[in-house]
Symmetry: C2
C-alpha cells in the first residue's frame, strides 16, 4: 500500500507520526510542514536551557546520538520531506488538499493528501494586560523565546524578573532564573495557589513554602497584575500588581497554552468546548481521513469521561504513534489520559495523577484523601527521605481516583505516581493499591511502602476508624489559642514534645501513646482533642485506643508534625533535624 | 466482639497481624510468642548493618521514631503480650491450644486460642558441605548472625571471605564486606548466573560484569563447593571449589531459605510441594481458625496460578494485614504475588517483576522479550543515565508477563518495575504499557519513556518488523571472525564507528543509517548482516528500510553497542564515554 500523507506541524506528535508511518509503509510519501524554522524539539526543555542545565539549543533539537533533527535528517534518516517556514493556510477537505504558504518568499502551493495529520500544537495565552507588548515581555512557547530570555540574563541585563503564572512552565522558569543566574524573581498568580488545576492545595502549599522560605522566590498568590510598565527606552521597567509596583527588567508570560485549532475549525472540523480538536479513540477528527494529535486536540479524561485539555510532549508522542498505526490501516487506540504530571523545583519534586480531592468533589464524587507521611525507603537506610502522599479514593465504590506525592527523591516520588497512573487506567480499587507489590530492598523501598501505607490509611478512614484533621485546619485551630475549642495531645516522647510544651502549654499537652491506657483520665473531655505525633501513625493508634475507651472527641493530625513543618506554619517552634 | 488470638512468630507477619487485630478489636487478647529474643526486626537490613550503613542493631529493631520494638513496647503501645525465648512445641487443633516452652527455664505452658496465626518464618538452608560446622561459617538469618559477622570484620579478623550462594542475600553481603571493609570476596554459585530463579540471564550478566570488572568481586559461577577446610584452631581457613583452594577467614552461607512449616505439618495442616503452608486467598490454612502468613507459607503466582515460594518482609507485612482483617471477621483477600524484586549493588540497581523470558518459556508461554536501552529521563538532561529494560509479552494474547530493569538511578529502575507490577496483577495487555501515562518532566522522565519504548519495541517484534539479535548471540557471532557467516553493519556516525573498524574490519563495516537508501548496493547479501548502532533504534530503522528494499538477511543488535558494553565482552575496543 502506498499513501500520500501530509502532516501539519513538526514538533512532537507530527514527527512521531511521520517517522512511524514511513516505517510501517515505507512506500508512502510523507510531507511535514511547519511555520517555524526550529522543528522537532523538546519544548519542555526550554527552562533547562535557560538555567544552563542544557548547554545549547542543539541539546533540544538533537537526537540522543547528537544528530540535529533538521530537514536534512528527516530526509536522509527518515525519508520524510519537511517544509519549514511554511504555514498551512487552509484545508480543502472536499478535494483533499492542504494549501500552504512559504512565509519567507510568499510562495503558495497545494499539497494533496490521502490522509492528513493535524499536529499544530498550542500557543501561549497572552493575557490582556496593559504593557504586554513591551520589549522584555516574553512568553515561553518556542526556541526563539528561549534564546531571547537566555541571552538577556546571560548578558547580565536582568537583575530582577517577574513571572506571570505559576503553572509548571512559570515555576520552572522561576527556578532557572533564580538558581543559576541569581535573578530576584517575583511570581504572580491569579489563583490562591501555585499549580492551579493540577496540584492538591495542601500538597502544593508545601512546595510554596519551600520556594518562598528556602529558595527566596517572591510568591504573589491570588494576585492581580494590573499593568506592565515601560521605561522611556520602551523596555519593561516594572510590574504593577494589587497597587504595588515591582521593579523588574524582564517579564515572562507563563499564563497557559491554548490549542492551535483555528485551521481545523475553519476546515469545518469539530472542536470541543475547551477549544481542542475533537477526536475519537483512533485519533480521527470528525473527518475520518483527517487525524489530529498533540497539543491541538481535546483529550478524554479516563476517570471522568469528560473532555479535558493537557498540552504535554509525552502525550503528543503517544498520540503520534497511535495516529501512525491507524493512518496505515491499523486499529490502535488512545483511550485518553489520566493526567499524570511531575515537576522538580530546587530539589523538591511533586507528582500527581488522576483527580485530586478538589477535582473529585467538583465531579460530585465523595472521596477520602488523607495525608500520609513516611520514609520513601527503609527508615533505617541512610538515604531515606520523607515522602508526602495523598491517595484519593471514592467512598462506596472504593475506586482509586488519584494520587499526589511530594518529596526530595524525585525518581521515588514519580515512581509511586506512575504505578498508580497505570492502575487508574485499569479502573483499579483501593485493595489493588493496598496489595500493590512494590519491589522491596532497604535502599530502594520499604517493607510497608509509603504507597501501601497510604492505601491502608484510606481503608482505615473508610472503615470509620480514622478521623483526620488536615495541617491547614490544625494550624487554624492552634491559632485560636487556649480560648478556642481545641487541645493538642502530643503522643511522642518527651524529647520531641518539650519545645512545644514550653511555648504552647496549656493548649499543648503531653501524653505518650504507650502510656495512654494507664492515663485515660488525663485526656481532656470538654474540648476537641487533636492527637499529634511525628507522622500520624502513633496518634492514629491513640485514636483507636481512645475510641475503645469510649472517648470520641478526638482528631488525628494527618501527617503529624512532619506535615505541619513542611506546611511552613511559623507558630510552631520547630527546630532543624526534628520530625 | 472479644477474641483470644495467639500468634506464633514475632518478626514481620506476626507483629503486623497482631497490632492490627488490636486496632480492629481493642477488646481482643493477643499473645505473640517467638523462640528468639530479638523480635520485630528488619531482617532485610542485615547486610546494611554489616556494611555500616546502619550503625547499630537498634536501627533494625526500632521504629522510625527510635523506639525499640521490644516486649515492653508491644505491651504499652500495642496492648500485645509478647513471650520471647519461647518456642511453640505443638498445636492442638482439636482443643485449640498451643503448647509452648520457655527455652531458658524449660517451663511449659498451654495457650488457648480462638484464632491462631502461624508466622514462623523461614530458616536458612544449610548445604551438606563438609566443614559447614566450622567456626567462622555463618548463615544470614537473624540478628545473632549479623552480630557475629560484623564483629569479626570490624575486629579486622577477616581479610578474605567466601559467600556461598549468589542470591540477593549473598550479593548484598558480598558488597557489605568488600565495599566498607575492603575484604577480598569470593562468591560461589552453583548456577551459571547470579540471582538464579530471579534474574533474566542477559540482564544479570550486566550486573555480573559490574561486580567482577568494576568492583573486583571474585565471581565463581557454575561452581561446585567441595569442602570448607579448617585450621588446627578449628576455625575456617579455606574453601575448596572445583579442585581449587581459596584461603578465607570467613564463610557466609547464603544458599536460600526454607519455610518453617514443620510445626504446622505436625498439626496436620496441609503444605504445598515447596514446603510452604497452604493457604487460601483469606490466608486461612486448611483449618479455617488457623491463619498463616509470611515466609512460612506458599504463595500463588498471580500470572501462572501455580504455587511459589518467596520469602520477603514486604509480602509478610501485606499478608499480616489481610490476616488481621479476617481474624476480626472481615473478608480481605491476598491474591498472591507477581514476584517483584529489587537489589542495589555498588550503585547499580536491578529490579524485576512477573516472569522473565526463561520462566515464561518454562511455563510453555511463547513470548517476546527484546532488550531495550534508553536514557531514564530526557536525554538532554544532565542527570540522565542509560536504563536497560526487558519487557516480556506473550504472543497471541499480548498479555504482559514481566519486566526486568537495570540502571544506575535505582529509584528510577524500581519505579518502572513497580508500575508494571500493578499492571500485571490486573492482567494488562501490551497496549496498556504502550499508553502507560508516566509523568513527564525532563529531570524526571522522558517524552517517550523507556518503558513506553520497551512496549513499542515488543509491538514491533510481534508485528514481525523487528528481528533482534541478543548481545550474547552477537558476541558469539563476532568471535567467529571473518571466517564466520556474519557481517556487522555499523549505522552510526564515523566517529563512533572508527575504533571498531580499525580493529574488526572487514567483518565490521560502516554504513550510516541516513545514507542507507542511497547505498543499498553496499549491503552484503551473502552473509547474515547484524545492524548496529548505539542503542538499537537507528539500526531498527535501518532494518525496516532494508526490508522495504527487499533485503531481509539482517538482524538488529538489541540495545546496540551500549548493551554489549554493559555485557562486558572484551572483544570490542570500547573506550570510556562512548555509547
Amino acid at each position: 500500500m502506498s499513501l500520500n500523507v501530509v502532516i501539519i506541524g513538526a514538533v512532537a506528535a507530527g514527527p512521531k507520526a511521520g517517522c512511524r508511518i514511513k516505517r510501517l509503509l515505507p512506500d508512502s510519501s510523507v510531507t511535514m510542514l511547519d511555520r517555524d524554522t526550529y522543528i522537532s524539539y523538546g519544548g519542555c526543555g526550554i527552562p533547562f536551557y535557560v538555567s544552563g542545565d542544557v548547554a545549547d539549543l542543539q541539546g533540544l533539537t538533537s537526537t540522543s546520538f547528537h544528530m540535529e533533527r533538521n530537514p536534512a535528517f528527516f530526509k536522509g534518516a527518515k525519508g520524510i520531506e519537511v517544509l519549514t517556514g511554511t504555514e498551512a493556510t487552509a484545508i480543502d477537505r472536499a478535494d483533499k488538499i492542504v494549501r500552504a504558504k512559504n512565509l519567507a518568499t510568499g510562495e503558495e502551493r497545494e499539497l494533496p493528501y490521502d490522509k492528513l495529520v493535524i499536529a499544530t500544537g498550542s500557543q501561549p495565552f497572552v493575557p490582556p494586560i496593559p504593557g504586554v507588548e513591551l520589549e522584555g515581555v516574553v512568553p515561553v512557547a518556542n526556541l526563539h523565546h528561549a534564546e531571547a530570555i537566555k541571552n538577556a540574563v546571560a548578558q547580565g541585563q536582568v537583575g530582577s524578573a517577574a513571572v506571570i503564572g505559576a503553572g509548571a512552565t512559570g515555576l520552572e522558569m522561576a527556578e532557572a532564573l533564580a538558581d543559576l543566574w541569581g535573578v530576584e524573581v517575583h511570581i504572580f498568580e491569579m489563583a490562591p495557589q501555585i499549580l492551579p488545576g493540577l496540584g492538591d492545595a495542601e500538597m502544593v502549599r508545601m512546595m510554596e513554602c519551600h520556594l518562598a522560605e528556602q529558595e527566596g522566590i517572591n510568591l504573589h498568590l491570588a494576585a492581580k497584575v494590573e499593568a506592565i510598565l515601560g521605561g522611556e527606552d520602551g523596555k519593561v521597567r516594572a510590574i504593577k500588581a494589587d497597587g504595588v509596583e515591582y521593579e523588574v527588567e524582564q517579564v515572562i508570560l507563563a499564563t497557559g497554552y491554548r490549542p492551535n485549532s483555528a485551521l481545523a475549525q475553519e476546515a469545518g472540523l469539530e472542536l470541543e468546548a475547551n477549544g481542542g480538536i475533537k477526536v475519537n479513540r483512533f485519533m480521527q477528527t470528525s473527518d475520518p481521513d483527517v487525524f489530529a494529535g498533540g497539543d491541538c486536540v481535546s483529550l478524554t479524561n479516563i476517570i471522568t469521561h469528560q473532555p479535558m485539555y493537557i498540552p504535554a510532549g509525552s502525550l503528543a508522542n503517544r498520540m503520534g504513534r497511535v495516529i501512525a498505526t491507524n493512518v496505515c490501516g491499523g486499529q490502535a487506540t488512545f483511550p485518553g489520559a489520566v493526567g499524570s504530571f511531575c515537576i522538580k523545583l530546587f530539589g523538591l519534586s511533586l507528582a500527581r495523577t488522576g483527580l485530586n480531592q478538589a477535582q473529585a468533589e467538583q465531579e460530585g464524587l465523595n472521596c477520602v484523601a488523607p495525608l500520609v507521611v513516611q520514609a520513601d525507603r527503609a527508615h533505617f537506610h541512610p538515604d531515606n527521605k520523607l515522602m508526602y502522599l495523598k491517595l484519593v479514593v471514592e467512598e462506596g465504590t472504593r475506586r482509586v481516583l488519584g494520587l499526589t506525592a511530594l518529596g526530595e527523591n524525585g525518581d521515588a516520588v514519580v515512581g509511586r505516581v506512575n504505578a498508580v497512573a497505570g492502575l487508574l487506567a485499569q479502573g483499579a480499587l483501593l485493595e489493588d493499591v493496598s496489595n500493590l507489590e512494590l519491589a522491596y530492598s532497604p535502599p530502594l523501598g520499604a517493607a510497608v511502602d509509603v504507597l501501601n501505607a497510604a492505601a491502608n490509611t484510606c481503608e482505615n478512614m473508610l472503615a470509620g476508624k480514622l478521623r483526620p484533621m488536615s495541617p491547614q485546619e490544625f494550624s487554624r485551630r492552634l491559632a485560636e489559642g487556649v480560648g478556642g475549642n481545641t487541645v493538642v495531645l502530643d503522643m511522642r516522647a518527651i524529647d520531641n514534645a518539650k519545645p512545644f510544651l514550653e511555648c504552647l502549654a496549656p493548649q499543648w499537652c503531653h501524653l505518650p501513646q504507650e502510656t495512654l491506657t494507664q492515663r485515660l483520665d488525663e485526656v481532656p473531655r470538654d474540648k476537641d482533642v487533636v492527637l499529634v505525633c511525628n507522622s500520624g501513625v502513633r496518634s492514629y493508634e491513640g485514636q483507636v485506643m481512645l475510641d475503645a475507651a469510649g472517648i470520641h472527641n478526638t482528631y488525628n493530625l494527618s501527617g503529624g508534625v512532619a506535615a505541619v513543618k513542611k506546611w511552613g506554619e511559623p507558630i510552631l517552634p520547630v527546630k532543624d533535624g526534628e520530625g
